[in-house]
Amino acid sequence: MIRRWMGAALMAAAACGGSDGPPSLSGTISYEDRAQQTNGRLATELVPMPARGVTLSLINEADGAVLTTVTTDDEGRYTIEFVEPLVEPTEPVHLLAAAMNMSPERPIQVVRRDRQVHGVGGEAFTFKDGTDVDLLITDASGEAEAFNVFDMAVLSHDAVTARLALTPTPITLIWERGSNDGTYYSGDATVHLLGAASDDDGYDDTVILHEIGHFFEDTIGRSDSPGGGHDGSPTDPNLAWSEGFSTYWAMAIKDVPFYGDSNSGGGWGYNADTALTRAPQPAGDIGQDVGENLTTEVLWDLGDAASGDDDQLAGDHLRVLNVQPMYLRTAALRNVGEPGVDLVDFLDGFFVADGLDHCAAVRQIVVTNHTFPYDFGGPGGRCP
């Protein structure tokens, strides 16, 4: 009763103070990030990044009651307005940021190995109308990486919604500092990420996006990958396609031709625009084993701009990514080469979607540069 009366008094005081609108609390939620460098290592400097789209709750410090819950905007900003039945808190409270979003546009949660969502609570404070209360999720808390993982999923889901005009499906990502579970996509809308001292992928944006790429293959495209290891050597065309596409997904989402993976010894990086991987047998079978990098480099060259580049095609990544939902997802694949989806089927779909206007430029990328013996005779028509 006293709490309610005090709330009403505070509201009245705020109104007399001349502020517009109801009493409110606002601020910015951010997390510390380490940037990837081109050699795959992580920068030592910690940089605050906005925690966009995270779930933010106001918690009563004394009894732990959840007073209200909102979502941060794309700058990490939040505003809580105290409108009936929500009354202004008179006792100390704190903010709790959770690495989850339950909206249809961003159905994402980043969880610990026990499947509880990562959350970080700030210092207790006493509410005062109109003041900003910020929360910086620090690396020292052991939780900043979980929010970086969340942010990579936001990037991916936003691309699906905005660029591909599709509704993303819910995804769960498991990361925890110290976890030796491995980094892989397990086929059940779940991505697993290493948090080990020898190899921690929590800040490795491109590794996280690579695994999310597998998730999108499954949910909006198609994969016939047998799974298993892939180290850049020529391998099963279905595996090479799936892995090469997922690395390309990471590059297309970040719009840089770079893949990096840090580890305790530093790490390694790869540039799909400057590297050149060739098919082992230029005059060989269309279903021959190829390296995953060949797939990534062909896709990048088809999707990037023409200027300052080693190929002549003025591409765009949307045109490349769209082949997954528009063709591979539903089409009956041509009975050539390796059964199941591979680079040949993607190129078939590219010409179906794009027409035959760019035959010469694609031939230069695929055959001249990468020596892959594609036959240019798919369901989209025969290139001259």
Partner: protein
């Protein structure tokens, strides 16, 4: 009867292969380095040493092994031909150390950490409070 036994055995084998393939298919991992890397700590008369074997999975132009930041480069190496390296580690009595071992092969790398000497002190987990937010369990760590 014998034919039936053979058929059942073949069917069981095929089912096992299918199960393995399905399990493998569910696991699509990150790009790895083409190398098999093993490292272990061994006690010597004068202290400790780290023993490393790095075998590329295919023929490569070079294999570089780093132990505690010291790099050793080996030349062209055939597939599955392990490069062997031993490095002494200086430690005070009763001390312990994490030694990072890295193999760099064909533009990619893999690292492991070898504990030498006394075991590392157990990390104390941060206290966690579990709260229900919109029906979801959230593990809260306070900063």
């Amino acid at each position: 009867m014998r034919t039936l036994v053979y058929c059942v055995a073949i069917a069981a084998s095929l089912a096992l292969v299918a199960t393995d393939a399905t399990a493998e298919r569910r696991h699509r991992g990150k790009p790895s380095a083409p190398v098999s890397l093993t490292a272990k700590a061994e006690r010597t008369a004068s202290g400790w040493r780290v023993v490393v074997d790095a075998a590329p999975t295919r023929a490569v132009d070079a294999v570089t092994i780093e132990i505690d930041g010291q790099a050793t480069r080996f030349g062209a190496t055939a597939a599955r031909d392990a490069r062997h390296l031993v490095a002494p580690v200086k430690l005070d009595a009763a001390a312990g150390k994490d030694v990072v071992v890295t193999a760099r092969v064909a533009g990619r790398s893999q690292s492991v950490i070898v504990r030498v000497g006394a075991p590392a002190p157990a990390a104390k987990p941060l206290p966690v409070t579990v709260r229900q937010i919109n029906g979801v369990s959230v593990a809260e760590v306070r900063q």
